[in-house]
Amino acid sequence: MKQERTSKVKGLLKVLALVVPFLLNVNAFASPAETPGAGHDSVAAVSGNAEVAAAPEAHAAEAAHGEEKAGDVIMHHILDSNVYSFEPFGEIVLPKIVIGGFDISITKHVVTLWVVSAIVLIVFTIIGGKYKKMSPKTAPKGFVNAMETLVEFIRLDVAKANIGPGYEKYLPYLLTVFMFVLLCNVLGLVPYGATATGNINVTLTLATFTFFITQVAALKAHGIKGYLAHLTGGTHPALWIIMIPIEFIGLFTKPVALTIRLFANMTAGHIVILSLIFISFILNSYIVAVAMSVPFSIFIYLLEIFVAFLQAYIFTMLSALFIGLASAHEEHGDHEPGAAHH
């Protein structure tokens, strides 16, 4: 029994190790979408600065100036850029690559994605190797044990609970996406780290994976006929003109909601921390700094550590839930009985 489980976990880790480079590649492909956006943002930021800079001159005074600086610093922290800065020690200017009109230069967030992929790959390769050497009777120790807890948590409480029988097929994806999102989130809280999941292109790429896996799961479970029948909601043909657009839009709202949720959560936390820090600079007061900025930003920072885990969990869990809903055979709890027999 124990051996069986160990071999299962071992197989999982192997697949995980195989999937990660794929993810890495796709993230490299994701960069064309990434950088034009960043370019627009920086252009927008520059023009915005010009407006804001013009405004305080007409009006009054230092407060507006402080706000402008705070806004600049926050935007610089949130947005992607071609410079990876290690503030007091200098900065690395990353190469700008443009091929066929697509800006696929390696930006700060792309570097972060590669670092995350490398960490996940190395950690799970090592752990997989340890499982190979381990005799079935000994329990794993230390870090391996901690990772086993996470893997088992995703396997039992997320995949098995939401997808049901046949969940093993989707487990590698769910595990990979959980570890990847978790590490991206946590790396944003480390000094000199960037929050790659605070970039909407990254979260959109991840949600697109979930979308395609969900559709393939639905097609496999119901066949092309059942898949199309599902789009009608099982209603009378007279209602199809309403039902089909609604169900069709419903297909796309799920990944969009996943995208926005992760992106907004990770971005909002960083904005809140920096705003709290900058309150003391805007008000120019030590009392505010000691009584408010420091304790509140530490509190939000601790909350952010929790949010990093929670959002990774929610992303994985909703992915599992969507796959489970798409591939469910009999129980359509939230549909009317007419929809059940396809």
Binding site: G48, A161, A257, I260, A264, M317, L318
Partner: protein, 75 residues
């Protein structure tokens, strides 16, 4: 200038309204979940999962609103 000021005001009010909606919604979810757990402690795990999913969906809608407000404020 007047229009720009009104835009910022709209963004602020919109953000507040979205938070009120999300707060009411998640509050309702949490209250019902606490009640459910108190009545049926053995169903805690199921209730927690359902609660997190519902809260995440509510939060998602609220975040759509917040993103629109941020876009308004940055434009």
């Amino acid at each position: 200038m007047e229009g720009l000021g009104l835009g910022f005001l709209g963004a602020g009010i919109g953000a507040g309204l979205a938070v009120i909606g999300a707060g009411l919604g998640i509050g309702n979810v949490a209250a019902s979940a606490a009640e459910g757990v108190a009545r049926q402690p053995e169903a805690t795990a199921d209730i927690r999962t359902t609660m997190i999913i519902a809260a995440a969906l509510i939060e998602g809608v609220a975040l759509f609103g917040e993103v629109i407000c941020v876009l308004l404020a940055l434009k």
